[in-house]
C-alpha cells in the first residue's frame, strides 16, 4: 500500500451561477488522482481547464459537488467535518496564489511570515524560530524588516512562500504562482519549489501553464475541460505534441523542435525535454 498524501475519487465540481441551469457545465468531472507523499507534480491546463478549481477543492476553499477527497487518509468530504477539521487540513496543505500583493497581510516581511504560525496558536519562541528558518529557506533573511510593497514581484512571492513554509505543511500547492512574475522572478520561485521538494521533503503541486516549469517536475498531469487528459512523467506527457496542441497547450520548445525535425525526415535520436538536452541531441546529430 502506497503512502498517498492526496487521493481523489471521481471528483466533480460545478460552479453555481444562480438560476441559469442550462449554463451549468461542470468545471471538473470524474477526476481520480493519487499523489504520493514527497512527489513533485505539475498540473497543466489552459485557462478555464479546471486546474485551479482542483486546487481549491483540495484546500477546502470549495466543496466538491460529487466525489471524495482524502488528505493524508482523512476523508475531507465526510458530512461530519467540523470547522476545526478544516483548520487541520489547511495546516497540512499550504497554498501560494498568483498575485503576491493579495496574499501579504502585514507591512513588515517577518510579521507577514508570522501570520500563519500566529493563527496556529504557537508559542512566541516557536514562531520566531519558524519565521527565521522559513526566511532562510527562501533566501529573504536580509529583508526580514523590510516593507513588502517595496520588494520585486519575485521577492514578494518568496515572502508569501515563506509564510506558507512557516506553517510546516505536508503539501504546498502553487496556484499559478509564477504567472505574474518576470522571468527572473519565475526562476527564483521554481528553484524554491524544487528545493522544498528535494531538501524539505514537501509534496509540491505546481499548477501552471508554463511547459518549461512543468518539465522540471517529476510528474505531469494535464487537465482539459475538467478531466484528466494526460498523466505521467514529463517525458511521457510531452511526447503527445499533437494532443497537447489540440488542448491549447504547447510542448516545450526544444521538444517541439526535435519532433518537427523528425517529421521533416531527419533521423534524430535522443531526449529533448529541457533546453540542455535539446542542444545535446542536436549536437550529437550534427557531429
Amino acid at each position: 500500500m502506497k503512502d498517498y498524501i492526496i487521493r481523489t475519487e471521481n471528483l466533480g465540481f460545478t460552479y453555481d451561477d444562480g438560476d441559469d441551469a442550462a449554463s451549468e457545465i461542470p468545471a471538473l468531472s470524474g477526476v481520480s488522482i493519487n499523489i504520493e507523499r514527497g512527489e513533485y507534480v505539475a498540473i497543466l491546463g489552459h485557462n478555464g481547464s479546471g486546474k485551479s478549481t482542483f486546487a481549491k477543492l483540495l484546500n477546502m476553499i470549495l466543496t466538491p459537488s460529487v466525489g471524495k477527497i482524502y488528505i493524508d487518509g482523512t476523508d475531507i468530504t465526510a458530512e461530519e467535518f467540523s470547522e476545526d477539521d478544516v483548520f487541520d487540513i489547511r495546516r497540512k496543505i499550504g497554498m501560494v496564489f498568483q498575485n503576491p500583493d493579495n496574499q501579504l497581510v502585514a507591512t513588515v516581511v517577518e510579521e507577514d511570515v508570522a501570520f500563519g504560525p500566529e493563527n496556529l496558536g504557537l508559542e512566541r519562541e516557536e514562531i520566531r524560530r519558524r519565521v527565521d528558518s522559513s526566511l532562510a529557506v527562501v533566501g529573504m533573511t536580509e529583508y526580514a524588516r523590510h516593507a513588502p510593497h517595496k520588494l520585486s514581484g519575485g521577492q514578494k512571492q518568496r515572502v508569501a512562500i515563506a509564510g506558507i513554509i512557516a506553517m510546516r505543511p505536508n503539501v504546498i500547492i502553487f496556484d499559478e504562482s509564477t504567472a505574474m512574475l518576470d522571468p527572473q522572478g519565475r526562476h527564483e520561485v521554481v528553484d524554491i519549489m524544487e528545493k522544498l521538494n528535494k531538501e524539505e521533503g514537501i509534496t509540491v503541486l505546481n499548477i501552471t501553464h508554463y511547459m518549461e516549469e512543468a518539465a522540471r517536475a517529476d510528474r505531469v498531469i494535464v487537465i482539459n475541460d475538467g478531466k484528466i487528459a494526460l498523466d505521467g512523467t514529463p517525458r511521457q506527457v510531452f511526447k503527445n505534441v499533437e494532443k497537447l496542441r489540440a488542448m491549447g497547450l504547447e510542448a516545450p520548445q526544444g521538444n517541439e523542435l526535435i519532433l518537427e525535425l523528425k517529421k521533416a525526415g531527419l533521423d534524430i535520436k535522443g531526449d529533448s525535454l529541457t533546453e540542455a538536452e535539446c542542444i545535446e541531441t542536436l549536437y550529437k546529430f550534427l557531429s
Binding site: 484546500n59 476553499i61 470547522e83 483548520f87 489547511r90 495546516r91 499550504g94 497554498m95 496564489f97 498575485n99 500583493d101 493579495n102 496574499q103 501579504l104 497581510v105 502585514a106 507591512t107 513588515v108 517577518e110 510579521e111 508570522a114 501570520f115 500563519g116 504560525p117 500566529e118 493563527n119 496556529l120 496558536g121 504557537l122 508559542e123 512566541r124 514562531i127 520566531r128 519565521v131 524588516r145 523590510h146 516593507a147 510593497h149 509564510g163 506558507i164 506553517m167
Partner: protein, 286 residues
C-alpha cells in the same frame, strides 16, 4: 504624483520612538491631540512647536519626508488661516481695512495658531503612530487597549484586523491608481484641466476600475488568509509581545508634564496688541 502621499506610511527604524510600545504611542498620541486643542495662546503654541520639532528629531524621520506629508494638507491649512484672518474681530483699530474686510492683529495671531494647530496635529500624530509604528503592531496596540470592550461583545479583533489591512493596502492601491490613471491618460483622458465638474467626471473612469479591482483583491486576500488558517482571534498568538518598559513610562511622564505645562501657560493672560507693535515696527508705522 499621488505616491508622494506618505500619510499612513510606516518607515522602519530603531529610534526611541520606534521602540516604544504601540499602546504607549496611542496613549501619547491621545495626550498630544488633547494638548494641541488645549493650546490657545502664542506661548503655548511655541511650546508645542518646539516639542514637535524635538519629536521629529528623536524619531529620526527625515524632514523631507515630513514636508512631503504636509503637502496634501497645505490647502486646508491655508484655507483655515485665510478664514481666520478675515473672520476674527479684534479689539482696537484694524491693521488693514478695505471694502468690508478688516484685518486685526488678533486675526493674524489666530490664523497662525490655527495653521500651526493643524500642522502640529498631523505631523505629531503621524510621527507617533503611522511613521514609527508598523500597522500590525498598531493594530496589536489598539486591540490590547480596547480588549476590555470584548466583554460587551464588541468585535475588537475584527475591527483591528480591518484597520491594519486597510493600512497595508494604501500603497498598493495608490500604485494601482497611478497605473490606471496613466492608462487613461495615454488614451487621452484629462485629469488636470477643465472645470471642477469636468474634472470630477474624469475621475469616474478612474474610480470604477479601482473599485472593481479592490473587490477582487479583497476576495483573494480573504481566501489567502483562510488558507493560512486565519479564523479570527480564536486561539491566536502573537510574534511580538507587548510590554511596557522604562522608556514607555519616561515618555508618558514627559507628555503628562508637557500637558500640565500647557494648561498652566494658557491661564496666563495674553495681550495681542503686542503683536500689533511688532507689526508696526516691521512696517515702519511707528
Amino acid at each position: 504624483m499621488i505616491s508622494d502621499i506618505t500619510l499612513g506610511q510606516f518607515f522602519p527604524g530603531k529610534s526611541a520612538i520606534h521602540r516604544l510600545d504601540p499602546r504607549t504611542k496611542i496613549i501619547l498620541a491621545t495626550l498630544f491631540i488633547v494638548a494641541v486643542f488645549v493650546a490657545s495662546n502664542p506661548v503655548s503654541f511655541l511650546l508645542l512647536f518646539v516639542s514637535t520639532v524635538i519629536l521629529i528629531a528623536v524619531s529620526k524621520i527625515s524632514f523631507k519626508v515630513i514636508l512631503k506629508s504636509i503637502k496634501p494638507i497645505v490647502f486646508i491649512i491655508v484655507f483655515t488661516a485665510i478664514l481666520n484672518i478675515f473672520m476674527t474681530k479684534g479689539e482696537g483699530e484694524p491693521l488693514l481695512s478695505f471694502w468690508i474686510l478688516n484685518i486685526y492683529t488678533e486675526g493674524i495671531a489666530r490664523a497662525v495658531m490655527m495653521a500651526l494647530r493643524v500642522l502640529i496635529l498631523i505631523v505629531g500624530t503621524s510621527i507617533l503612530l503611522t511613521y514609527t509604528t508598523s500597522p500590525i503592531s498598531l493594530t496589536d496596540g489598539l486591540e490590547s487597549l480596547l480588549s476590555p470592550l470584548k466583554a460587551i461583545n464588541l468585535p475588537v479583533h475584527t475591527f483591528a484586523m480591518m484597520m491594519s489591512i486597510a493600512l497595508r493596502f494604501i500603497p498598493t492601491l495608490v500604485e494601482e491608481t497611478e497605473k490606471i490613471m496613466n492608462a487613461q491618460k495615454s488614451r487621452g483622458a484629462d485629469f488636470t484641466s477643465g472645470s471642477l465638474a469636468q474634472r470630477a467626471k474624469a475621475l469616474i473612469p478612474l474610480l470604477v476600475p479601482l473599485f472593481v479591482s479592490s473587490f477582487k483583491r479583497a476576495e483573494e486576500l480573504a481566501t489567502a488568509m483562510e488558507c493560512r488558517c486565519y479564523r479570527g482571534d480564536k486561539n491566536r498568538t502573537k510574534l511580538v509581545k507587548l510590554e511596557y518598559k522604562g522608556l514607555d513610562f519616561a515618555f508618558m511622564l514627559i507628555f503628562v508634564i508637557l500637558l500640565v505645562a500647557l494648561i498652566c501657560l494658557i491661564t496666563i493672560p495674553y495681550n495681542y496688541q503686542s503683536f500689533g507693535i511688532i507689526y508696526d515696527v516691521l512696517f515702519f508705522r511707528v
